[in-house]
Amino acid sequence: MRIQRTTQEDRRFILWSIFPSLFAVVLVGGVPVLYTFILSLKDYQLIKPPGVYIGLGNYIDLLMNNPRYIHALLFTILFAAGAVVIEIVIGFLVAYVLADEEVTSRYSSFIRTLILIPFVVAPVVVSYTYKTLIYDVTFGYLNYFLQLVHLPVFDLSQGIYNAPIGILIMEVILRTPFVTLILFAGISSIDASIFDAGAIDGVSWWKRMYLLTLPNIKPIIVVAFAFRFMDALKMFDEIYVITGGGPGYVTENVSIFAVRYGFEYFRMGYAAASAFIFLIVVLVLIMSFLKWSKFEEEMV
């Protein structure tokens, strides 16, 4: 319940309870975004500040003359969308089996903890493990087993597909558990009588999934998609550690691109512009998805 009419004392309470957060959010969240925008209008070199205003020069150069940036932008979005779709499909299948009445009695807090492990450990740490223990050409376990069965070696630095596929596989393995948990929560909350009715009518396993479960958890799938997509767009640690954006620029996403330009080529203004374009793209993508799915009405 929300209180509509407020007394003098309540108004003071509202002010004091909101103010510190508002202050923090505006000062440490809003101001930097504004600053990024101002920077993006400058030719700001870290080694010789303060830089000069060049209007939309950085934007024009990024969008017109820099195929590397367009590639990074497309790679970010396509990679995120692809990864999340795969995660949702696999995550749903696992959640569906897990929520099956024959299996669900074994579901416990222990299993839930196990499922959560890949999702909560530091991405840097796991990425390093994948890079070394699993994907390494000479000493990695993956290539050891591939050679055992006489398959060609999987080398991340070869060709333009290996690196994205390697990162994609890791990302899917690490993030699917999160989707599974959310969808499991959704499936378990469906009224069991729907399934009983289905069972009486002799609906098959696949049909039951397709006709009864999926439509009932559509809102939950939307939530899972929104949150995973948001985070997949922000991906940085995994790529930075495993390939650093390489080979060439194949796996370079916008975050890597901006860090390279800002902190290695010291072109802060240019990097800020690339980040700002990305910010707008992300906000438009997510907001229109939320609007389309009518999700934000529930949230706010």
Partner: protein, 277 residues
């Protein structure tokens, strides 16, 4: 008879499917633990040594490393500091957002939600320059401030979903008994939702403990956190995977303990209250 056979086969297939998925997901973690108790030479042996004499020498080396211990200390100070500050802010804000209508409440909610969507790369560049010009680069203060902003949206939305479940009558009763609103919040509401608050706080601690990008670009000698220390260590000891694995285990252990304790509320936290779990 046939029906029963079909049923047990189906059950077997379901378990098999789940087992395969679980193994694929957990293999890297098993490998990390195994490698961490091998000697440096054994860790690189090809074909892999499945039977070996376990050793704790990697952990002994780590504990003797001052840089490593310092990075753990830094991670703890920054993680706990940011979590406490953000939780304090999150509790009052989320309560007011659940309970009151006021001018701009919707805009405020949207702004916080937007902050969750903004890619961190947009913050990293200005932060770096701001801290440098304020002479605050590489201090606990700057790190904690950044992380508070990073986790505050999550905390506000998550705690909000817990407050929303408390019936208003409880508050009314407390206020009839003479509590002010602050007292009601302090003595009635917070104790009621304390498990939820603890879960939200631990989740944001994990976020900070694991965070890489901000730390990579903003920490220096004084505030280097554990993920950065691990990242750097591979540069120095290119092929010392045993050492890498043991530091990875140390970084993972606290997170797993925390998760085991609060797993009940994690789904709600990760979806900012949208899914109850």
């Amino acid at each position: 008879m046939k029906v029963r056979q079909a049923k047990s086969l189906r059950r077997f297939l379901k378990y098999l499917f789940l087992a395969v998925v679980a193994v694929i997901g957990l293999i890297p973690f098993i490998l990390i633990v195994l490698t961490s108790i091998k000697t440096t030479v054994d860790a690189l042996a090809m074909p892999p040594k499945w039977f070996f004499v376990p050793t704790l020498q990697n952990y002994q080396k780590l504990i003797a490393s001052i840089d490593f211990l310092k990075s753990i200390k830094n991670s703890l100070i920054i993680g706990v500091g940011a979590t406490i500050a953000a939780t304090g802010l999150g509790i009052t804000t989320s309560y007011t957002l659940t309970r009151f209508r006021f001018k701009g409440d919707k805009a405020f909610s949207y702004f916080i939600l937007a902050l969750r969507i903004v890619p961190p790369i947009t913050f990293v560049i200005p932060y770096f320059l701001i801290w440098r010009s304020l002479k605050l680069a590489d201090t606990y203060f700057s790190m904690i401030t950044m992380y508070v902003t990073l986790v505050l949206p999550l905390l506000i939305w998550m705690i909000r979903s817990f407050f929303a479940e408390i019936p208003y009558e409880i508050e009314e009763a407390a206020m009839v008994d003479g509590c002010t609103r602050w007292q009601t919040l302090r003595y009635v509401l917070i104790p009621t939702v304390i498990p939820g608050i603890m879960a939200s706080a631990t989740l944001s601690f994990i976020f900070v403990w694991n965070e890489f990008m901000f730390a990579l670009l903003n920490t220096g000698r004084n505030t280097r956190t554990l993920p950065i220390e691990i990242y750097n260590s591979l540069g120095y000891y290119q092929l010392d995977w045993a050492k890498l694995s043991s530091s990875a285990v140390i970084a993972i252990i606290p997170v797993i303990i925390i998760i085991a304790l609060t797993q009940k509320y994690i789904v709600r936290g990760l979806t900012m209250g949208a899914v109850k779990g």
